[in-house]
């Protein structure tokens, strides 16, 4: 007799899966459901899941120990629910998605959400593959849904080709790990790899690097970042905001859990691998961002470089690093979501060139100030929260003695300031060459952006509440 009680701890995922199915099938077929407002239904589902997660306690291994439900996964899932709820709010205020298809879009989002919940709690390579694909496959479709831009189909095709390529390399790497160790459990594979890593075998590095490729693809780090600018530029802006936050957070959570099982023998070489990826990611992202003329593309490269910064916290491979990442994630969410909402508001129509923002400060001063705060915070300038987040990441890296990584990251912070300030200069100092008709819009985006920048400024000055919250991350696993 199987004991079903532990499975109850995984209830939020069951709820999310049920609603994914309902969104896909029933909503189109049942007339009564069709008339319900889709966004409100999904919102209530997310609130219910958030509440269910907050009820849980303890740590349970379910589904043949493929999934570990613990406080770590619960905390990250709650962050993901918030990110998706914010995305729904943004979708209601954007005209790039076809509103008639809301049920299908929410079905896709619910599937992505289920995949991300599996990513935060996976402890088995098979579950890792399933979770990553469950996030990837609906994302390919979501990118193609921009009804104003035919190029979104092209971006989606590039995304799906790179995504399946990364998945192919990842499963090949996993097959090598399985062959070397005879197990698929995270706890088993690092122990099994110990003798190979001690001997410095090439097959060990090959297997680990190949397995990493799929996870690295999800957080858009070098060398699997090619899809990112195209997909972000052509996708509907709310979906861009979603892709640049939630799957990245889930990917980081998965990476941290994956590496938390390593044995001390492997620390040095894993740190080396991860810091090389981190340095390459932030440098490439920043250098490519310098010559961008499209704001969404610029934010895409900026999110690539942020993936590099966040990898710094993972590269140190200790609980202080995990805590620093955990500390930075809410700040990153606020900055990115705020910036994308401002972008939606400032570029009614389908023009996202930075030059079209010239003189915006006169027309929409509040949102421009909001975007300025978000961009300064992304650049890591005090007194905004982005500075504090980066400060803790630098701190853990320097404490571990990874001076080169810290120096490269510092140089990159300076480079990133160039392009963020470039956008602000266009908005604030440049004057409009030919005045365009001002389109009146509702006040919601202003409220939304303000709701993002108030915590950014507040946490930048007084970050103790967030630090207390991040203390919880120490006690995970």
């Amino acid at each position: 007799m199987v004991n079903t009680l532990p499975y109850l701890s995984f209830i939020p995922a069951h709820v999310m899966m049920s609603f994914a199915i309902i969104f896909f099938f029933l909503a189109k077929a049942v007339p009564f459901l069709k008339r319900l407002p889709a966004s409100i239904v999904f919102f209530l589902v997310l609130i219910a899941c958030f509440w269910l997660e907050s009820l849980g306690s303890g740590s349970e291994a379910v589904f043949f120990e493929m999934i570990q439900v613990d406080s770590y996964s619960r905390l990250y899932n709650q962050i993901l629910f918030i990110a998706i709820a914010v995305t729904i709010l943004m979708m209601a205020n954007s005209d790039e998605l076809n509103k008639d298809n809301n049920w299908e879009i929410f079905g896709l989002l619910a599937t992505v959400c289920l995949g991300m919940m599996l990513m935060t709690s996976a402890t088995n390579l098979l579950m890792t593959v399933v979770a990553i694909e469950l996030v990837s496959i609906p994302s390919y479709v979501l990118v193609a849904l921009n009804r104003k831009l035919p190029a979104s189909k092209e971006a989606s095709l590039k995304y799906v080709l790179f995504g399946s390529f990364a998945a192919g390399i990842m499963v090949y790497g996993m097959s090598l790990i399985f062959g070397l160790t005879g197990t698929l459990k995270f706890s088993g594979i690092w122990k099994g790899l110990a003798e190979y890593s001690a001997a410095g075998n090439a097959i060990y590095f090959l297997a680990v690097l190949m397995t990493l490729s799929g996870m690295v693809f999800k957080i858009a780090a070098v060398p699997f970042h090619f899809w990112c600018p195209d997909a972000y530029q052509a996708a509907p802006t709310p979906i861009t905001a979603f892709l640049s936050t939630a799957p990245k957070v889930a990917g980081l959570a998965l990476l941290m859990r994956f590496f938390s099982y390593h044995v001390s023998l492997q620390t040095a070489n894993l740190t080396l691998i991860l810091s090389i990826i981190a340095m390459a990611t932030m440098t490439l992202g920043n250098l490519a961002a310098l010559k961008q003329t499209d704001i969404k593309r610029l934010l895409a490269y900026s999110s690539i470089s942020h993936a590099g910064f966040l990898l710094m916290g993972i590269a140190v491979l200790n609980s202080a690093g995990r805590q620093a990442v955990f500390f930075y994630i809410p700040i990153y969410l606020l900055m990115n979501l705020g910036a994308f909402m401002a972008v939606i508001y400032l570029s009614r129509g389908d023009r996202f060139d930075i030059t079209s923002y010239a003189g915006m400060i006169k027309k929409k001063p509040l949102v421009v100030i909001g975007l300025t705060v978000c961009l300064f915070s992304l650049a890591g300038l005090p007194p905004f929260a982005g500075f504090v987040g980066k400060f803790y990441l630098f701190k853990v890296v320097i404490e571990e003695g990874l001076i080169l990584l810290a120096v490269v990251a510092a140089i990159n912070s300076v480079i990133s300031l160039f392009y963020y300030v470039g956008v602000i200069k266009v908005m604030v100092i440049d004057s409009e060459d030919r005045p365009s008709k001002d389109i009146q819009t509702g006040g919601f985006p202003v409220v939304f952006v303000t709701a993002c920048i108030v915590p950014i400024v507040f946490l930048g000055v007084y970050w103790v509440p967030l630090l207390n919250w991040a203390e919880k991350a120490k006690l995970l696993f």
């Binding site: 971006a155 989606s156 390529f165």
Partner: protein
């Protein structure tokens, strides 16, 4: 044929898939390259499960291979659907001609 034979075949498949992914221009051909990568991994899993079974979970490799087949199918469905809609929009699916997004 021993384990080495299977591993050689799967390594060859993997290399072929890589070469196709890098050298071919047609999106459908690239997709076929990706299928080779996935099948190479599936072959590896089955071979390892047959020749070096772990005591704890003897079916892990086979199950993983089944999941890879499913994954390849799901990915092919979505990729072909997207390729179709790209064809409707641009009237070709050659990756080197789809250049409206750059930078």
């Amino acid at each position: 044929m021993g384990l080495t034979g299977f591993l050689t075949v799967s390594a060859a498949l993997f290399t072929l898939g890589m070469v196709i992914f890098i050298s071919r221009k047609n999106a459908i051909a690239i997709l076929m390259g990706v299928e080779l990568l996935l099948n190479a991994a599936a072959l590896n899993f089955v071979a390892f499960a047959r020749f070096t079974p772990s005591q704890a979970s003897q079916l892990d490799g086979q199950i993983f291979a089944v999941f890879i087949v499913l994954l390849a199918a799901a990915e092919a469905v979505v990729a072909l659907a997207i390729a179709l809609s790209v064809y409707k929009e641009f009237h070709q699916v050659r990756a080197d001609k789809l250049v409206s997004l750059k930078g």
